[in-house]
């Protein structure tokens, strides 16, 4: 914990003085709630004085970074307030904000922020009385919740053990079958290159350690013999596709079923066109982390998905290319039990659990580098005017970084788990991503493999749920 943040660190929520007054930051829209607060003032309404207002042009400008910054700098609660749906000065800013806040709120709940600290309200310029009531209610709620627990690695804490998860995983492939797949894969790659249908095949080659593969870029048919297949083909090679397109007109990529969601998102987000890509889907035996099947594989069939251009199995190669608009990627996840377990724990315990995880973060940004969908040329964590996320490799900056990265992927992440796999600190980023995916699906429905669909957080509906909004 660095000194600039030392003022923020409070003890537990145990003993709070009677006269303790919470600090609350209100992010308010200039066109409605700000004027509503003004109205409350001119009407001489009385309400608690612990709220500091930050005037925004629109709640659409509200970023989770602002809320995190408020918590870092000592706020015990945050209120966001804007125009009623349909009244936005910019037509739809508040509707976008509503979705963003809903998802952010569920993540904050998951990592252990008591939801009595986080509020959203619609207050129009004419609603001085509502403003006074909202502030009174919010203040009472935050008082109940007590001072914000500190952003710090809980020392001397024994930790908690998540329930073990099990699952059958994909069909076992014996050595002969894997050999056959390798032969078929090499043949498919070689034909693609020979026919000029792709300039490069991105696949897996043998690594220098036992049980390791490395991404390889094969451009000559003779080199296709280096393509490997098996339990150790861990990387999501979609990460390399966009940069390879700078060099080659068309790129072929070897893909497991869990890699396809990322490819689909890249197309959806305009990073590449479907016709620039040849997807070679290969029957997967499940990947291993250490000697165990990776969590994401436990409920996966390993069957290559028919939206791939080529489907490689032990039996042979066939061209497929199903229309993606009808395709779904149904990936049940046994780790949902671990998420449910975490959610059954009290907020303080969850907070400690995640603070310890985030405390280990080295800010090596391997999560970002390995993620196929983290393609921004300049990342928010590197911007310092203003600097939203502390560069100090410690909490609270580490918490903000991991929270913001997860939120930027909400509704986009396809659950390939590369971030969690590469994390040297074993932070359970997979659980965070999965939690957000579940929340997005529950609120706004599933986004399939169709690149024409919009991802949830760039979209909105007038009738979106808002049960928690004051």
């Amino acid at each position: 914990m660095t000194e600039a943040h030392a003022g923020v660190v409070r003890g537990g929520t145990g003993s709070v003085a009677e006269d303790w007054q919470p600090h609350i930051v209100a992010l308010v829209c200039n066109w409605c709630s700000y004027a509503g607060a003004d109205m409350a003032g001119t009407t001489r309404l009385e309400y608690p004085a612990g709220v500091r207002m930050v005037r925004l042009p629109c709640t659409g400008r509200m970023s989770p970074l602002m809320i995190l910054k408020a918590f870092e700098q000592g706020a015990d609660g945050v209120l966001v307030s804007g125009c009623h749906p349909g009244d936005c000065h910019y037509v739809q800013g508040n509707l976008v904000a509503r979705r963003r806040f809903t998802i952010f709120r569920s993540l904050m709940d998951f990592i252990g922020i008591d939801l009595r600290r986080l509020h959203f309200a619609w207050v129009s310029a004419a609603e001085g009385h509502k403003w006074a009531k909202v502030v009174t209610d919010v203040t009472a709620k935050v008082r109940e919740a007590g001072p914000l627990p500190g952003f710090a690695n809980p020392e001397g804490w024994d930790g908690i053990e998540l329930p073990a998860v099990t699952g059958g995983g994909p069909q076992e492939l014996d050595t002969a079958q894997l050999d056959a797949i390798r032969v078929n894969l090499r043949e498919a790659a070689s034909e693609l290159l020979a026919a000029g249908r792709a300039g490069v095949v991105i696949g897996y080659g043998v690594g220098s350690l036992p049980d390791q593969t490395v991404p390889v870029f094969v451009t000559e048919t003779a080199d296709c013999a280096m393509l490997e297949w098996g339990h150790w083909c861990r990387n999501n090679l979609a990460t390399y596709v966009v940069s390879a397109l700078g060099q080659y007109e068309r790129v072929a990529v070897v893909a497991k079923t869990c890699d396809l969601g990322a490819i689909s998102s890249l197309i959806r987000e305009g990073q590449l066109r479907r016709d620039q890509l040849m997807v070679i889907g290969v029957q997967c035996p499940g990947i291993h982390n250490g000697s165990e099947l990776a969590g994401k594989c436990l409920a996966c069939s390993g069957e290559p998905h028919p939206i791939c251009d080529f489907v490689v199995t032990a039996d042979g190669v066939h061209e497929s290319r199903q229309d993606p608009s009808e395709a779904a990627l149904d990936m049940p996840d046994v780790r949902d039990e671990q998420i449910a377990f975490l959610e059954s724990l009290p907020h303080e315990v969850r907070w400690r659990y995640w603070q310890r995880q985030f405390g280990r973060c080295l800010r090596c940004y391997a999560c970002r580098a390995a993620c196929p969908l983290c393609y921004c040329s300049s990342c928010i964590v590197e911007k310092h005017r203003p600097q939203w996320i502390s560069t100090a490799i410690d909490n609270p900056g580490n918490s903000s970084w991991n929270i913001i990265r997860a939120l930027h992927l909400a509704g986009r992440c396809s659950g390939c788990d590369e971030c969690a796999r590469v994390c040297p600190a074993d932070i359970r980023l997979d659980l965070i991503n999965r939690k957000l995916a579940l929340e997005v699906e529950c609120q706004y429905g599933k986004v399939g493999l169709d690149p024409e669909q919009r991802s949830a957080l760039v979209d909105f509906r007038m009738e979106d749920s808002e049960e928690f909004i004051l």
């Binding site: 660095t2 600039a4 220098s208 080295l362 390995a370 560069t391």
Partner: protein
């Protein structure tokens, strides 16, 4: 290897723990502990927390206890219209790094070379001054280990004040420096003095592990070749799959690069020094936007050469062969193999050029 076995003892596991218990009274003891399944160096409060094994290493090196991930160089705050400046805190406790692998202990010496040669870094120097290192020799190599290929040894004593050597039963404790002697003084009652035959264990371990590590040695003359072949096109190929993260540098026992940032709000702030890595594009990007190391290939080459070249004839490699960067690289880049491949390619290019 220097033989300074003027005093060594044979300790049982119980005696080792009792000694560690005694050390906790007057010192801050940092040792490997398991946290959420990850083995890490942490400050311990009880001797039972320490995981002292005959092989295996922590996820990253203990360098953060000499060169923290982030630290304030000075602090300030505004009160009453004036600015108050605070110097950084001087470490008060004596710090013991306990159970440091031989490679990591050597890595600390590589850090010393950066922070203590020429103009000393006063914060680092103060911390180093009050630190004692108790290393643990290895009885087995991990798959990624290659200390013997870069001039190190699984039983090496560089950077150690005391060394624990795993025996079939218990431990051999070797006192290597005066600072180390202070740590055992008063604790040796009931300890068995080691005999010459116990000393043989060292050469046995060294031989056994050298055989386990199959990699061929990196030759000292290769540094020159790497420097001469700086512009070799081989680097394009070697770093093609590098993802440009900083895992390699952050888990490395000898990487010492840092960045300076101002961490402040309206009332107070600090000048903060944090780890940084040459594999990040931002590491060398100028304010103008120009980047002298514009591609990931150039950045990866920088990292490899900073470990294996850019050194005087008599200086050691900066890589100590712990192999963490190999094991943890998301894309499976292997620094030792990269050196071999680059040297081969550069030699071939030279031969082609001569033709």
């Amino acid at each position: 290897m220097k033989e300074r076995m003027d005093s060594s003892w044979k300790l049982t596991e119980t005696q080792l723990r009792e000694w560690l218990h005694g050390l906790l009274d007057a010192n801050t003891v940092v040792a490997p502990v398991e946290e959420d399944g990850v083995l890490l160096f942490r400050r311990i409060t009880s001797e039972d927390q320490a995981v002292i094994e005959s092989s295996g290493k922590t996820r990253w090196s203990p360098k953060e206890f000499l060169f923290p991930r982030s630290e304030a160089l000075y602090r300030y705050n505004f009160t009453g219209g004036t600015v108050q400046l605070d110097d950084p805190p001087v470490p008060e406790d004596h710090q013991i790094l306990f159970g440091v692998r031989s490679c990591d202990a050597a890595g600390l010496v590589r850090l010393d070379e950066i922070f203590l040669s020429g103009t000393k870094d006063p914060i680092y120097a103060a911390r180093r001054e009050s630190t004692t290192v108790v290393s643990t020799a290895c009885a087995a190599a991990d798959a990624e280990c290659f200390c013997t290929a870069v001039g190190g040894s699984p039983v090496g004593v560089e950077g150690s004040d005391l060394q624990l050597v795993p025996l079939d039963e218990g431990w051999l404790l070797r006192v290597l420096t005066d600072t180390g002697r202070d740590l055992v003084s008063g604790a040796t009652d009931g300890w068995t003095a080691a005999t010459a035959s116990d000393g043989k264990r060292l050469s046995e371990l060294e031989k056994k592990i050298s055989e386990q590590i199959e990699r061929s040695p990196v030759k000292r003359e290769w540094s020159k070749i790497l420097e001469e072949g700086f512009e070799s096109p081989a680097w394009d190929q070697l770093a093609q799959h590098c993802l440009g993260c900083g895992v390699c540098a952050y888990v490395c026992p000898s990487c010492s690069c840092f960045d300076m940032n101002h961490e402040a709000n309206a009332f107070s702030g600090e000048q903060c020094r944090s780890w940084d890595a040459c594999t990040f594009a931002l590491f060398t990007r100028h304010a103008s936007g120009h980047n002298p190391r514009a591609t990931k290939q150039e950045r990866y080459r920088q990292r490899v050469l900073h470990k294996f070249a850019f050194r005087e004839e008599d200086e050691p490699f900066r890589c100590v062969g712990c192999g963490r960067c190999v094991a943890l690289c998301p894309a499976g880049l292997d620094i030792a193999n990269a050196v071999v491949a680059a040297v081969e390619a550069i030699r071939e290019e030279g031969a082609d050029g001569a033709r």
